[in-house]
Every structure is written in structure tokens, then in C-alpha cells.
Amino acid sequence: MYEALMKEMLAEYGADTLKGIHHFIPDKEPRKYLYHLIQDYPNRGGKGFRPGLCIAACKAYGGTMELALNSAVSLELLHNAFLIHDDVEDESFYRRNKPTMHEYNNRAIAINVGDAMNVLALYPLFKNKEIVGPKLSEKIFTEVQHMVLESVEGQALELGWRRDNICTLKEADYLRMILKKTCWYTCMHPLRIGALIGTSGKIDPETFNRLGYFMGTAFQIQDDILNLVAEEKKYGKEIGGDIIEGKRTLMLIHLLEKCNKNELEKIKQFLAVPIKERDSATATRILSLMHKYQSIEHSKKTAQYMAGAALKEFYSIFSGLKESKDKKFIESIILYMINRDY
């Protein structure tokens, strides 16, 4: 029941946001090398999680889709820009069941498309002043500025850890990294921005920090687990790709803490060579070790704890609001995370 509602509303808000994205893409040259490519990732149909949360939070607090749409469009454009750049940085092959942009073009074009999307994301924010007034627009702009800064800081941490092959990370390091890299821009700021718009700037956005953080953490851990255990077609990325990329997931950090010296040395050696030289046989052995040391099980539980904490936060924040489809939608996302069976 909650899963159906979640999917229905994600699809609805995702479609509205996609229309908005198309509206803000200039219809001019150079189409082949830029503007048509900008449409590619959004058209592949992501989850639409960020605009969905933003619009739902706005409506749950009494706002309308029209008031939140520009902000939602900006969030989704920035998200897709991040994805293009992330794929280059991670040297990923697939995104949403298709080759990544740098794979079917080249790295230079992909980076430029990502840059353009970052710039295009500014205009809906600028136009916000006509819809929500200048004061609230300024607040939203500051929210977005903070969101982007946190995300690049989180990405910097992870890229740095990979470059320096850091293998002594603890769970708290991981939580800090995904707070910065994922939580602010996936959940915390979409909720904060939506609620600010819905209340005409009257609510304290800090109210949503814990809720968004717990949701974002559960979301990221589950996404990383899917990378290891899901069917490739269903997931849309290469399975086990995160191991090859040396991504510092909770499973890898747990494994590095639990495995014996011999195993640790082999994993370190695997992670020390360039991505393209890493072999899938060793990656499969690392996956087996994750099973052996229950790293995946441990991560599933951690994600569940986080989703549980998110539900508690949700009830304390939203229980005072009148019942609405949008309130139920946010609740349904959390319930889906708690009951996820992969």
C-alpha cells in the first residue's frame, strides 16, 4: 500500500519536474554537443527523490506545487549535474541501464555538460523571486548554496580517501562523509526548502536536520547494498562496481575492520592499483568476505535503525499537521526503507 503510494507520487512529481527541466533548457545550438546531452540523464528517469521530497514538504505545510516547482527543478538539475561529474570521477560505466555520459561521448564533453547543468540550475532559483518573493528566494538560494558546498566537501572526502587508499576508516567517518555527500542534498535541504516555501519562510529549517539525515543515511546505505546484491538490470549500474571503484561504503569499512591481517593486506593491494587494472575475480572474493564477516547484514541493520529513527522524527515533526497525501507520501518513503527486502 505505502509502496504503491510512494511510487505513484514519485512518478507524478518526477514528471512535473522533468517538464520544468525541459522548460529551462535553451532551445538553440550547440544541440548535439550540449543541449541534447543535458536532457539525457533527466530523461533516463531517476527516482525523483529530491524534487518529490521538496514538493511534498511544501504541500504538507500548506503550499502548492507551483510555489515549489522552480526549487524542485533546480535540485534535480544539480543532482543530474553531480551524477555526470560523479560518473567521470568514479570512472563508472553505466547509469540507469545505459552507458555513462563520458563513456558514450568523452570525458571533456561530459564535464562540460555537467558544468552547463550546474549553471542552468541557477536560473529557476533566480526566477523564484517572482513566485515566492525576494526574501524567501534569498533564503532558498542560501539553502542551495550550502547544499552544494556540503556535497562537494563529502565527495572530496571520499575521493581523497580513495586516492590515498585510506583503509583505517571507522563507521563515524563514513557517517560524516555521507552526511556531507548525500544527506544534505538528498533529503535535508529538499525537506527544508519545501517546508520553507510551504510556510512562507516562517518555519525553522533546522527542524528537519535529523529527519533528513536519518533518511539520507538509510537511503545511501541501501543504495550501496543494492550495488552488491541486486539484479544488474533492475539496479541500472554494474553490480559490484562499487568494489571495483574502491568506494568507501559501510560494507567495505566494516570488512576492513573485521577481516584478518592477511585478508586486509590483499584488500589493500587490490585498492592500491588503478581502477582499470582491478580484476573482477578479486572483487568477487571481497564480496565473499563481506558475506563471511556479515558486513552486508550489519549494513542492512544500520540502514534499518536509521530508517526507524527517521520515522520517529517524522512523527514528532509532522503529527501536528493535518492529514494529507503528501504527508503520507513522506511517511511511505520511510516505511519503504524500514521494510526493504532488497
Binding site: G133, P134, R176
Partner: protein
């Protein structure tokens, strides 16, 4: 001492498989694990938020550099004088241009403004002069028969107590003799009390009559309680 008998995961050293199974089946243990994970996560969040606030404060300080300004009063005064002269120059240029084009801002008002600006310069009341005069433009042209909204905000950093603000609107004047009556202008709010450290947002609504000719139109907003507050706004009307 109790901590010494535990490893980093909090489990007792030398625990048997039965002990571990019992731990797994024990709901208190599950709750304890969840609590540990959540509490560690919350600590990370609080630390990061605190670090963010501190970093933001440092950036603000760098941009404004208030300490160095305070430390050199001569430099501060020369900057104030320079900024004041620049503000007055901009003000006079804008005013002269508007007077030429619009033809409705009469000479007495010009004299009044010049007198105020000069007085402001000699008294070095820079913030007041620079802040109260502003020009607002609509982002896009408006068609005759439609309504356009513009926004302005009013604040006064020098206030010690709340003051009453009563905004007045004036006819919009176009190039030539075209006018849009002030009846078509709505200021929301038009009267209010401005408190210390408060920034008040004003919405200016202009309903452009259907028979209005194309062209640029200017008008002035004044405060009857404070002659220094003057805002010029302009709209571009298309047929």
C-alpha cells in the same frame, strides 16, 4: 575497569557462541545497538553543524573585515568620505538623467535632493544617504492591461527605536506626456512601524491600464515620515 573487559564493539572478551546467540535474541541488545548507532550518528551531525556555523562566521568576518576597519579610524573615515562622494555622484547622475527624460521631477525637488545630498556629505551620514535612495526595475516588460509586481525592502541600521513609515505613491510618467495614474499603484503594506534591525519587504503592484502607450514609465515612492527615503521604480510597457 569494566571497559577493559570489552572489545571495540562492546562485546565481552572470550564470549562463547551461545553468548553471542543469546545476545542476538535479546531485544535489549538490539535496542542497545540501534541506540549506539543513532547516538554516534547524531554526534557526527551536531559536530558538522557546529563546524559549519563557525566556518560561516569566519567567512563573514573576512568579507567585512570589521576588526581592521575598527583598528584604523583614519582609513575608515577616508573610505566613508570616498563612498559618500561616489554615492552622491551616482545619485546626481541618475537624478539628472531622470529629470531630462521624464520631465516631471520639478526643479524644486532637484534642489531639495541636492541640498540633502550635500548636507549628508558634510555630515558624513553615509549609510543613510546611500541606503535610502534606490532604483527598482521590473525584470520583464509588461503588456498594457496586465499587472506587474516589483519588490523593495526597507531597513535602517541607524535606528535606535521603532519609527513609523508612511509610503506615498506618485503617478508614473512615460517619455513625453504619457502618465499612469497613481490610482493604479498598490503598495503592500503602505504604512507600518519599522523596528530596529528589521527589514520590511514591500510589494509594489502596478495595474497598467489597457489603453497605455508602449514605452518606459518612471515613478517615485516617498515616505511622508522621512523625507530622505526615495525610491524610483520603472516599468517597460508593451502594447
Amino acid at each position: 575497569m569494566a571497559e577493559k573487559n570489552k572489545n571495540s564493539t562492546g562485546k565481552k572478551k572470550g564470549s562463547t557462541l551461545t553468548d553471542n546467540l543469546f545476545d542476538l535474541l535479546n531485544p535489549d541488545n538490539v535496542l542497545g545497538n540501534a541506540q549506539k548507532v543513532i547516538s554516534s550518528a547524531v554526534n557526527v551531525l551536531e559536530e558538522e553543524i557546529a563546524a559549519g556555523i563557525l566556518a560561516a562566521k569566519r567567512i563573514e568576518k573576512k568579507v567585512i573585515d570589521t576588526d581592521s576597519l575598527k583598528g584604523n579610524p583614519d582609513d575608515l573615515m577616508s573610505r566613508i568620505r570616498r563612498d559618500t562622494h561616489e554615492a552622491i555622484d551616482i545619485f546626481l547622475d541618475a537624478f539628472a538623467a531622470l529629470s531630462k527624460q521624464v520631465g516631471i521631477l520639478n526643479s524644486s525637488l532637484t534642489k531639495n535632493e541636492n541640498a540633502e545630498a550635500t548636507a549628508a556629505a558634510s555630515a558624513t551620514s553615509t549609510t543613510k544617504t546611500a541606503n535610502v535612495f534606490s532604483v527598482i526595475e521590473a525584470d520583464a516588460p509588461v503588456k498594457a492591461g496586465q499587472t506587474v509586481k516589483l519588490y523593495m525592502s526597507i531597513s535602517d541600521t541607524t535606528l535606535k527605536q521603532a519609527v513609523k513609515v508612511q509610503l506615498n505613491k506618485h503617478d508614473l510618467s512615460g517619455t513625453g506626456s504619457q502618465k499612469i495614474s497613481s490610482k493604479n499603484i498598490l503598495l503592500i503594506p503602505s504604512a507600518f512601524n519599522l523596528k530596529k534591525d528589521e527589514e520590511k519587504e514591500i510589494e509594489i503592484q502596478v495595474k497598467v491600464p489597457a489603453n497605455t502607450k508602449s514605452g518606459r514609465y518612471f515613478s517615485l515612492i516617498t515616505d511622508s515620515s522621512n523625507a530622505a527615503v526615495k525610491t524610483i521604480f520603472e516599468i517597460d510597457v508593451t502594447a
